[in-house]
């Protein structure tokens, strides 16, 4: 008993220190950081039977692993995992309660909370992975791009390939009156922003949105025309000639290589090193009604992510085997293994080592950083999905509504207390502000500082800036 009291005193001290730090540094974020956590035994889950949705992409791996390795069951959770037809169906499922939680695009909970598209309060206590996407173009486009790309001594193209080499091709198509169509998976998807970032960095305008005028097609002033296609259908849509290229998660880029219908030109790791990708989304209602369940499922997911990255990706082959089951991703073992085991095949035969192509746990990949949420918000503003200027505080407030490091922290602390993880594997919770240090490593060398979103937006040549309204 006395031990407990001491522990809670210590915790209170820590919390107080944190509170002071939070209050000084970020007044707007203090609400969620303030909650007292405790490492004492968690209560039983309020809801034991859960249904989670996912889209057939390799980055759903933490959910599949948590199920197959029994991590969900260890928490007393009986989880059914169900593939969804597309991101819209998945989001609606979480909103109307058909699904208890889902593998989501990082932009989805943010956009839903903001009210862009379907308005609903969605939160995320767990970020699922870093990187994992790539941009693929059709063989025909690749052939035209190739002369513009610098080569290495052995004749293979120098990576990263910039969109500068695509610009003449796009111009050629547009001059011939053929719109240069490309596919991405959802208007608020990471893929949309990555594809736009890459195109714009190479001087190709991907078009603006103007929701205040009812224009949600994102094609105003566009040179390349982006439209939505569900991930698993990307290769067949490219094969049919409806689009000339796409940005999607794995295994659908490697599938194009395997099928011989297209060439991946750039990975998102090269566009923005260690960019945050999917998150695990839950409705606010669910989190409020089932606090223990939320912490427990976060615990299971953290354990799964850790399992995926442990000992230099030693478990990845087993993970690939799980993912290739028809009820999960279902593509061939070899196709999934290409990217999951640390290599990436660009042109057929040009396999290069990209050890961090899929990161599930290291570099604090699972911690829901506010700065990650704000990056997506800055891109929404850049491309007009947020049509008017917003203050820096507005960005931070919204990020704090959606991203819930407090839940993550409780789950992580209890895992440490149970001896299932060590504190060195997590951010230092006492000092963590929720903002990553200014990040370099973008393909256009522009530095991102999450604490100053408006200043960041103004740095781009193509894109809306402070004061712009379409």
């Amino acid at each position: 008993m006395s031990q407990k009291v001491e522990k809670s005193k210590a915790l209170k001290r820590r919390t107080l220190a944190k509170f002071v730090a939070a209050a000084v540094l970020l007044p707007s974020l203090s609400i969620s950081s303030m909650q007292v956590f405790s490492a004492e035994e968690l209560g039983y889950p309020e809801k034991e039977e859960l249904k989670f949705g996912f889209i057939k992409l390799t980055d759903m791996a933490p959910i599949a692993v948590a199920y197959e390795k029994g991590f969900f069951e260890d928490e007393g959770l009986y989880v059914t995992i169900e593939a969804q037809a597309n991101w819209k169906v998945l989001l609606d499922g979480v909103i109307d309660g058909r699904l208890d939680g889902a593998h989501m695009l990082a932009g989805q909970p943010i956009a839903a909370t903001m009210g862009y598209g379907t308005k609903a309060k969605i939160v995320t206590p767990f970020s699922m992975d870093l990187n994992g996407n790539a941009i693929t173009v059709s063989n025909e486009v690749w052939k035209k791009m190739l002369p513009n790309i610098p080569k290495m001594e052995d004749g293979r193209p120098v990576h990263p390939i910039k969109a500068d080499s695509l610009k003449p091709v796009v111009e050629e198509y547009n001059d011939a009156g053929k719109p240069f169509n490309m596919g991405m998976v959802f208007p608020v998807s990471t893929h949309n922003y990555e594809l736009r970032y890459w195109l714009a960095a190479g001087g190709i305008h991907p078009g603006f949105y103007a929701p205040h005028k009812g224009d949600n097609s994102g094609k105003i002033d566009a040179e390349a025309f982006l439209s939505v296609t569900p991930p698993p259908q990307m290769p067949s849509t490219l094969e049919a000639g409806t689009i000339y290229g796409y940005c999607v998660g794995e295994p659908w880029n490697q599938q194009a290589v395997f099928k011989g219908i297209g060439v991946p030109v750039v990975t998102d790791y090269e566009i923005w090193k260690n960019n945050p990708e999917k998150v695990f989304g839950l409705s606010t209602k669910f989190v409020e009604e089932n606090p223990n369940t939320t912490i427990r499922l976060t615990r299971a997911l953290i354990r799964a992510a850790k399992w995926l990255d442990v000992e230099g990706n030693a478990n990845r082959p087993e993970a690939v085997k799980i993912l290739s089951q028809s009820n999960y991703v279902g593509a061939d073992y070899d196709v999934i293994a290409n990217s999951m085991t640390g290599t990436f095949e660009y042109e057929k035969g040009d396999k290069r080592s990209v050890p961090d192509f899929n990161v599930f746990f290291r570099y604090n990949a699972t911690y829901p950083y506010y700065s990650d949420a704000i990056w997506y918000l800055t891109q929404m503003r850049r491309w007009g999905q947020i049509s008017e200027d917003k203050s820096d505080d507005w960005y931070k407030d919204l990020a704090a509504q959606v991203y819930r490091p407090d839940i993550y922290e409780k789950a992580a602390q209890s895992l440490i207390a149970d001896g299932l993880a060590s504190s060195t594997e997590f951010p230092n919770f006492v000092e963590e502000t929720g903002f990553r240090k200014p990040q370099k490593h973008f393909i256009d060398d522009i530095v991102y500082d999450g604490t100053q979103p408006n200043a960041y937006i103004n740095k781009f040549t193509i894109g809306l800036k402070d004061g712009d309204l379409l």
């Binding site: 039977e49 593939a83 169906v89 259908q233 028809s326 279902g330 593509a331």
Partner: protein, 332 residues
């Protein structure tokens, strides 16, 4: 040479064989040998054509690849059953452990949470199609009889039937989905929403042939029979029971067979589009997976769908044989 002469001798001996044996052979030839020959030619053509079709997922599957998939689907099913058994065992242990700590806990056994195998999908589809069809029959047959008995009512209702009859299930589906989600709300539903959606879509699409055939059957009853009823001055209910129903049974069954085959086709499409559990979802999932085995698994599903459709039709035909006075109407 000797074999040839032996064969010719055998053929000659056939010619002088007494009539009963010859006709039996004749029947055997028609009933067994010809279908087998047809099947053999089909398999040959299939494997020949399959080898020539190259898709981005590899060669189109031939009969042997599909046969192999049937094996691996069965294998997956048994593996999944083992996993299910282990799941229940773990669950029992966990429940017991928690009850020991927390006696107020209401332990219950939850259903296996793993994937649905091909066999499970078949069962789901069958249950859904039969429920949808039964619901349609319960509505359509009384409606058809009422319309058939009254020319006035027929004139009033006919345009509606004719308009709804050609509507594709895919057009109904979004409406059904939204209405079911809005209307069918309960915290602990007896049936899942997806089941209700598929079932209602099936019902809406297979209602019409039954209504039409029943009404036509009832309307075209021999006037002699109607006169008999008049002479005996049967009350309306007895008239329907003793005269109308028996007389129109062949037509009702024709309608039912048409409806059931429509129901089966509609269900597969609905499951595919709505991602509701069943064979349609199996096909769609495999298409999405795009693995090298996907095409042969889809082909295996196609054959299964065909076989089940055939068996369903035969079942109704047997029922018709049993119930109907006109045995000749149930031969094709």
């Amino acid at each position: 040479m000797t074999t040839l002469s032996a064969t010719s001798r055998w053929i000659k001996s056939l010619a002088v064989e007494p009539a009963p044996l010859r006709s039996m052979l004749d029947i055997a030839l028609k009933a067994i040998a010809l279908p087998l020959a047809g099947l053999a030619v089909f398999l040959l053509l299939w494997s020949g054509a399959a080898a020539k079709i190259d898709t981005s997922l590899g060669k189109f599957p031939g009969p042997s690849a599909v046969w192999e998939q049937f094996g691996s689907l069965a294998n997956e099913h048994s593996v999944e059953r083992e996993k299910a058994a282990a799941f229940y065992e773990r669950q029992d242990k966990r429940n017991a452990a928690r009850l020991a700590k927390d006696p107020s806990y209401q332990a219950k056994t939850r259903r296996y949470t793993g994937k649905e195998t091909f066999v499970d999908q078949i069962a789901t589809s069958l249950v859904t199609v039969l429920s949808g069809f039964s619901l349609a029959a319960v509505i359509a047959i009384p409606l058809g009889i009422t319309i058939g008995l009254s020319k006035t009512l027929n004139a009033a209702v006919n345009p509606i039937i004719q308009i709804f009859k050609p509507v594709s299930p895919l057009a109904w589906l979004p409406l059904v989905t939204m209405v079911v989600s809005a209307v069918y709300t309960s915290s602990d539903p007896m049936f899942s929403k997806s089941f209700i959606v598929s079932m209602v879509t099936v019902t809406l699409c297979c209602l019409w042939p039954m209504v039409i055939n029943t009404s036509v059957g009832v309307a075209s009853i021999d006037s002699d029979l109607v006169n008999v009823s008049r002479v005996l001055s049967l009350v309306p209910l007895k008239h329907v029971q003793k005269i109308v129903l028996p007389a129109s049974v062949p037509m009702i069954f024709t309608g039912m067979r048409l409806s059931l085959s429509i129901a089966w086709m509609v269900l597969i499409a609905a499951e595919m589009l709505a991602q509701n559990p069943g064979l349609g979802k199996f096909v769609w999932d495999e298409f999405q997976n795009g693995s090298s085995a996907s095409l042969s698994r889809i082909m295996a599903a196609v054959i299964t769908i065909g076989l089940i459709g055939y068996l369903l039709d035969r079942t109704v035909m047997q029922l018709q044989r049993y119930f109907s006075w006109d045995k000749s109407s149930a031969t094709r």
